[in-house]
C-alpha cells in the first residue's frame, strides 16, 4: 500500500473503497450475494461468536452458497450474544440474537436458503449518524 499523501488522495481512496465494497456487494451476481456480519467483540466471543462464525463459513462453503462472512464490533445487544446481521440480496438487514451453531444452521437452512425468517430476530431501534 502506498501512503495517502493528501486529503484529495484520501477522498479518492474513499471513493475507490466505497465502489469496491459496492462492487463486492452488487458484483457480477448482485442477486446472489449474501452478507453476514458476526459481532466479534469480547462479549460476543465470550458467548461463542467464533464458533458461530466458523460454522457459517464452513457450512456455507460446504453447501456451496456464495456469501460474505465478516466480523464486526459490538452491536450492543449483550443480552443476546452471539449476534449476527444477515443481509439477503435486495432486502433490509436482519439481526439475530443467541446465534449458536444450531441457530446458525437454522438460519442457513431457512432464512438463507428458503427466505423464511427464523425466530429470534432483534428489532433494531436507533438512528444512525446520518439520519
Amino acid at each position: 500500500m502506498s501512503k495517502v499523501k493528501s486529503l484529495a488522495d484520501l477522498k479518492k481512496l474513499k471513493e475507490e473503497v466505497q465502489s469496491k465494497i459496492k462492487l463486492r456487494e452488487k458484483g457480477d451476481h448482485p442477486e446472489n450475494l449474501i452478507q453476514i456480519k458476526v459481532s466479534m467483540a469480547t462479549c460476543g466471543i465470550a458467548s461463542g461468536a467464533k464458533d458461530t462464525m466458523n460454522h457459517f463459513i464452513e457450512e456455507l462453503d460446504h453447501q456451496g452458497i456464495d456469501a460474505l462472512v465478516t466480523q464486526t464490533g459490538c452491536m450492543g445487544f449483550c443480552y443476546a450474544e452471539p449476534t449476527i446481521e444477515l443481509t439477503m440480496p435486495g432486502r433490509e438487514p436482519v439481526i439475530y440474537g443467541y446465534v449458536d451453531k444450531e441457530k446458525a444452521q437454522e438460519i442457513i437452512d431457512k432464512h438463507i436458503k428458503r427466505n423464511e425468517l427464523v425466530d429470534g430476530i432483534i428489532p433494531v431501534s436507533y438512528k444512525t449518524i446520518d439520519e
Binding site: K3, V4, L7, L10, K14, T72, F77, L117, V118, Y126
Partner: protein, 597 residues
C-alpha cells in the same frame, strides 16, 4: 418448499410474553392453517421490540406495519383485513402522541429514534480490522479536513462550539481542555487516551476500541494537531486483549496508509501512537494516577494543580481524554459543531453511551442523546425489569454514583441533573435494581469495590471507607444502632470533603444516596432487625408452618447443623439459636411449609 410471501413477527420479549404474546402467536398459526395460508405466511417470534408499554407488538413484513397492544382476539381481524384484503387495522396502529395521527411504520416512530449512535456509529457495522472499511465510512476525513482546511485554533473552536464534555466521568469541556494544553508552551506535548475503563459493568470504551479502533486513532491525531503534540499514548488495561490486538492492527494499518507517522497526508504534521498497558487498577483511570502508572511509578493520584495540561506525562503538557470522548471528535469535525450541539440538553450536548446492566431485560450497550429520561432508557430501550418485578432503584456513574429511586425516573439524563439528583454521569454504567435488592447490601457492595480499589494514599479513603464498610456490615448483620446511621452520614461527608482524588470524593455516594432515598430500609435493619428485601442472611428467620408441615422429616435429615427437630408425621420445629440460615430446608421442602420471616 414453502415460499412465504409475508411474515408475521410477534414480539417474544418478556413484557409481551406476560401480556399474552404466546396465545397471539398460537392464534395466528391455527387461524392461518384453518384458512390454508400457512404456506404463504410465516409466523415467528422475535426478541423484545423494546416498546413494552405498548405491547404486545406484532409487525408485518414486508410492508413493515407495526401493530401495538394486540390481544389474542385481534388476530383474526389482522389476518382477514391486513393479510387478505390489504387494509391496515387502524385501531391497532400506534398513535403519535404529538400529532394524534396513526403511524404505520416503526421507522417513523419517535420511540425508535431514542437511540442515536455517534460514538458507536461504526461498531457492529464495519470490520474493525480493515482500515478501508473505516475510510469508506468517512474515516480519516476529519483528520484530512483539519490538516488541509482548519488551523488548530479553528478545529479547537469547533470542538468548543460543539459543547462536547469529557465522557470519562468529570464532564470537563473537551475543547477548553485542548485549548489550555495548546496554550502551554513546551516543545514536547503528549496526547493520552484513557482506556483504563474500570467501572464494574462498563465496557463502552472496550467496545469502541474493539469495534472501531481507527476513530480513536484519528481523534488522537486531530488532538495532537490541535495542541501541538507529535506523540500519543493509549493507556489500556491489559485485561482487554482483543481491544489491544485490534488497536495494534489498526495502528499498523494507519501507519501503512500514511495516516500516522511522518508528514501525515503530505502535511507538516507528524504523529504516532504507542500503547501502554495498565495492570487493572481502578484508580489509574484518574488522570494523574494514570500518568504516574505510564511513567512506571506507583499508580496513585497527586494533587491538582498542576493539571496534566500543565505538567503531565514526564512533566510535559499532556491532554488526557477517554475513548468515548475521542470517538465523538471525527463526526464533530465532519458534520460541524452546530449539528452536534443540536443534540442533547442545554449544558450537555451530544449523546452518551450506557452499559445497561442489572435486573433489566435488555442488558446491553446503548447510546442515547443527553436529555433522554431514565424511564425511556430503562423501559423503552432496556425492555423493563426482569421477570416482571417492581423497579426499585437505578445506579448510575459506576461504583461512586448514587442510587436513584423511581421518583427520578423522569429525570432527563445529563451531567448536571444526575449530580443534582445525588448521583453522577461517570463513565456510563447503569445498573438497575428491583424489589429483591437490599439497598444496604448494595451500598456495602459498592463500598467493597472502592475499598479494594483505593490506592491507599489519603487517610479518608484508605481508613474512612474501611470504617464505612464495617458499619454497613454491622447493619446487615443486624447489629447496627441508630448511632451507626448518624455515623455513616457524618463520616461519608468528611470522606467526600477531604479525599484527595475523585475516587475518594465520590466513594460515599452509594451510602449517602441510599441513606437519602431508602432510609426506611436502613431503619428496618437497625430497629426491627429486618431486611425488607430478604437479602441479609443474618436477618432471615426460617420458620415451619405447622399447618403445612406433614412431618415428612426431609428437613430434619438434610439440616447440616441439626437445628430441626420433630416427630414423624407431626409438625417440625427449627431451633433459631442453631440455625445457620443456609436455606437447605427451604429449598428442599415439598410442601412449602418453610417460610422466611
Amino acid at each position: 418448499m414453502a415460499n412465504y410471501k409475508m411474515h408475521l413477527l410477534v414480539c417474544g420479549g418478556t413484557g409481551c410474553k406476560a401480556s399474552q404474546s404466546g396465545p397471539i402467536r398460537r392464534n395466528f398459526q391455527t387461524q392461518l392453517e384453518e384458512m390454508g395460508l400457512e404456506q404463504d405466511v410465516q409466523v415467528i417470534h422475535t426478541g423484545c421490540f423494546g416498546f413494552c408499554e405498548q405491547g404486545p407488538i406484532v409487525k408485518i413484513q414486508p410492508d413493515n406495519t407495526f401493530y401495538v397492544s394486540v390481544s389474542p382476539g385481534d388476530t383474526k381481524e389482522i389476518i382477514e383485513e391486513h393479510l387478505i384484503k390489504g387494509r391496515k387495522v387502524e385501531r391497532l396502529l400506534y398513535t403519535d402522541p404529538n400529532t394524534q395521527m396513526p403511524i404505520t411504520e416503526s421507522k417513523n416512530m419517535d420511540f425508535y429514534k431514542k437511540q442515536v449512535r455517534i460514538a458507536l456509529r461504526n461498531c457492529g457495522f464495519i470490520n474493525p480490522e480493515n482500515v478501508e472499511e473505516y475510510i469508506a465510512n468517512e474515516g480519516y476525513a476529519a483528520l484530512g479536513k483539519c490538516l488541509e482546511e482548519l488551523t488548530p485554533e479553528q478545529a479547537i473552536q469547533t470542538i468548543m462550539d460543539s459543547g462536547l464534555r469529557g465522557r470519562g466521568g468529570g464532564g470537563f469541556p473537551t475543547g477548553l481542555k485542548w485549548d489550555i494544553t495548546r496554550k502551554v508552551e513546551n516543545n514536547q506535548k503528549y496526547v493520552v487516551c484513557n482506556a483504563d475503563e474500570g467501572d464494574p459493568g462498563a465496557f463502552m470504551d472496550r467496545s469502541i476500541l474493539e469495534g472501531d479502533p481507527h476513530t480513536v486513532i484519528e481523534a488522537m491525531a486531530i488532538c495532537g494537531y490541535c495542541i501541538g503534540a507529535d506523540k500519543g499514548l493509549v493507556y489500556i488495561r491489559a485485561e482487554y486483549p482483543l481491544a489491544i490486538e485490534r488497536l495494534k492492527t489498526a495502528l499498523k494499518q494507519a501507519r501503512e496508509y500514511g495516516l500516522l507517522g511522518k508528514n501525515i497526508l503530505g502535511s507538516e504534521f507528524s504523529f504516532d501512537i504507542e500503547i501502554r498497558y495498565g495492570a487493572g487498577a481502578f484508580v489509574c483511570g484518574e488522570e494523574t494516577a494514570l500518568i504516574h502508572s505510564m511513567e512506571g511509578k506507583r499508580g496513585e493520584p497527586t494533587f491538582k494543580p498542576p493539571f496534566p495540561s500543565q505538567e503531565g506525562y514526564l512533566g510535559k503538557p499532556t491532554n488526557v481524554n477517554n475513548v468515548e470522548t475521542f470517538a465523538n471528535i471525527p463526526p464533530i469535525i465532519n458534520k460541524g459543531a452546530a449539528w452536534f450541539s443540536s443534540i442533547g440538553t442545554e449544558k450537555s450536548k451530544g449523546t452518551k453511551v450506557f452499559a445497561l446492566a442489572g435486573k433489566i431485560n435488555n442488558v446491553g450497550l446503548i447510546e442515547v442523546p443527553m436529555g433522554t429520561t431514565l424511564r425511556e432508557v430503562i423501559y423503552d430501550i432496556g425492555g423493563g425489569i426482569k421477570n416482571g418485578k417492581e423497579f426499585k432503584s437505578v445506579q448510575t456513574g459506576g461504583p461512586s454514583g448514587g442510587c436513584l429511586t423511581k421518583d427520578f425516573l423522569d429525570t432527563p439524563i445529563d451531567y448536571d441533573n444526575l449530580l443534582a439528583a445525588g448521583s453522577m454521569m461517570g463513565s456510563g454504567g447503569m445498573i438497575v435494581m428491583d424489589e429483591d435488592d437490599c439497598m444496604v447490601s448494595i451500598a456495602k457492595f459498592y463500598l467493597e469495590f472502592t475499598l479494594d480499589e483505593s490506592c491507599g494514599k489519603c487517610t479518608p479513603c484508605r481508613i474512612g471507607n474501611k470504617r464505612l464498610h464495617e458499619i454497613l456490615d454491622k447493619i446487615t448483620e443486624g447489629k447496627g444502632t441508630a448511632e451507626d446511621l448518624t455515623k455513616l452520614r457524618m463520616l461519608s461527608h468528611v470522606i467526600k470533603d477531604t479525599s484527595l482524588c475523585g475516587l475518594g470524593q465520590t466513594s460515599p455516594n452509594p451510602v449517602l444516596s441510599t441513606l437519602d432515598n431508602f432510609m426506611n430500609e436502613y431503619e428496618a435493619h437497625v430497629n426491627d432487625s429486618h431486611c425488607p428485601a430478604g437479602q441479609c442472611k443474618a436477618l432471615l428467620q426460617y420458620q415451619i408452618d405447622d399447618e403445612k408441615c406433614t412431618g415428612c422429616t426431609l428437613c430434619f435429615r438434610i439440616c447440616p447443623v441439626g437445628a430441626i427437630s420433630g416427630e414423624k408425621r407431626s409438625p417440625h420445629y427449627i431451633d433459631q439459636s442453631l440455625c445457620i440460615k443456609c436455606g437447605a430446608c427451604f429449598e428442599k421442602c415439598k410442601f412449602n411449609a418453610i417460610k422466611i420471616a
